[in-house]
Amino acid sequence: MQPSNFLPQLLRTAGAWAVALLLFFPLGWLILTAFKTELQAIHVPPLFVFEPTLDNFSEVQRRSDYLLYARNSLITSLGSTIIGLLIAAPAAYSMAFFRTKRTRDILMWMLSTKMMPAVGALVPIYVLAQTAGLLDSLTALTIVFTLSNLPIMVWMLYSAYKDIPNEILEAARMDGASLWTEFRHVVLPLSVGGLASTGLLCLVLSWNEAFWALNLSSAKAGTLATLIASYSSPEGLFWAKLSAASLMAIAPIVVFGWFSQKQLVQGLTFGAVK
């Protein structure tokens, strides 16, 4: 590196770090507060140096309804991911390998259903759920999550299948593979990565989902999103515990997010940015 490059490089590095820390600050503050006592949490001026404690986490764990909500989040996220994959994978497979003139239109139509605002379906879905007795049920939430994420899953799996070179499949055919053999021995192993990242993205989106969770559930089927939301009225001395609860609620997903950056870009922009 030439010496004349040093100052700009230094400025750039310092600038990038400064901005990153600034942007991350609210999240970082949340993490710090989770390890404080309640008194430390509301201390004025705010404390940066303190003795960390794990009391908040154990306290939150002891509250059984936290575990209930966490369990609901897990069930609805996993459920919608698995069901979504089961529905989306065959459809994507069909569109990638048995392409017809209408394939493109169907794919575009599927994407367009994702683009409609959820609020447009709020009333009918609420009424339907109420009529079917499914209000405040995990079933309703899982179904709605699945359908919300289905277009993105179909798109991402389609993309993954298309990445498999056609000639490899032809080679399998010449080697005597039936359609099922082709799928089992060639397509499946080569698309496992795509399936995993699609599932991961669906997991993230379902876990964070707030609109439907808040509107379709209350006491029994509430997810972590609803639990957190119920703390919206200030109750004074409880911020440390709230931070701990929040941290536990978001930590796995944020970590997943770090690993699925590329898939996120592809999935949420429907492949328009590569």
Partner: protein, 285 residues
Amino acid sequence: MNRLLPRALMAPAVLTLFLWMIVPLVMTLYFSFVSYNLMQPGDHPFVGIENFQYFITDPDFWPATWNTLLLIGSVIVITVVFGVLLALLVNEPFPGRGIVRVLLISPFFVMPAVNALLWKHMMMNPIYGVLADLWRFFGAQPVDWLTDVPLLSVIIMVAWQWLPFACLIFITSLQSLDREQMEAARMDGASSFQRFFYLIIPHLGRPMAVVIMIEMIFLLSVFAEIAITTNGGPGNESTNLTYLIFKQSLMNFDVGVASAGALFAVVVANIVAVFLIRIVGKNLD
């Protein structure tokens, strides 16, 4: 067999998505033309366009529309402008780049509910919040964010969450920038600023369009942040269309009017979606 199998494979997805699209749409259409209140059992007489009139003449309607536009517009401007700048900053390698990227990306994956509470209690609380401390540090009177500037507070929260998204998109796109083109421009004597304007901005044109449109679609549905922090208030100062419809349907229980409003939102979203689909479609083959 050759024609049946593909159709059978696609059937579940196509069928469920079709129902997911059609059933709510038809129901909403129906509800918008009848008088239906969840609290009042009985039949639903046809009322023509009364619901639409009611929705539009609701004193909250125009403020909500205006707020929606303001919210979407501000967040888009903030995220795109700073997203581009940040992406450029992080584009070249430097020590700790990986960690910086992780830090920058994180806010996007935070649950909107946590996001709302984080800002409401941690940052914006006028007594105990971090921002209040900061204001006091500089000798100024802390701002009561959620009461005095509710819409701005919501804008800040949402922009904080979506900035990483825009940033990530632009970072990805910058990686496909043609190095040789930049070098040729440098040899032709173009300054950094000129290279930025004539090469980088056009290259980012497409991702910018995609970011703007995706954000338009998702920002139209901003809900959790408002519901958890300001409840649309004070008054209707931070109510957006989505919250207004929610209020009508699940708080006033007036399904008819809410449906009229929902149709309005769907039309708006449709317009944006048409453009987005065209861009995505070009990329599909």
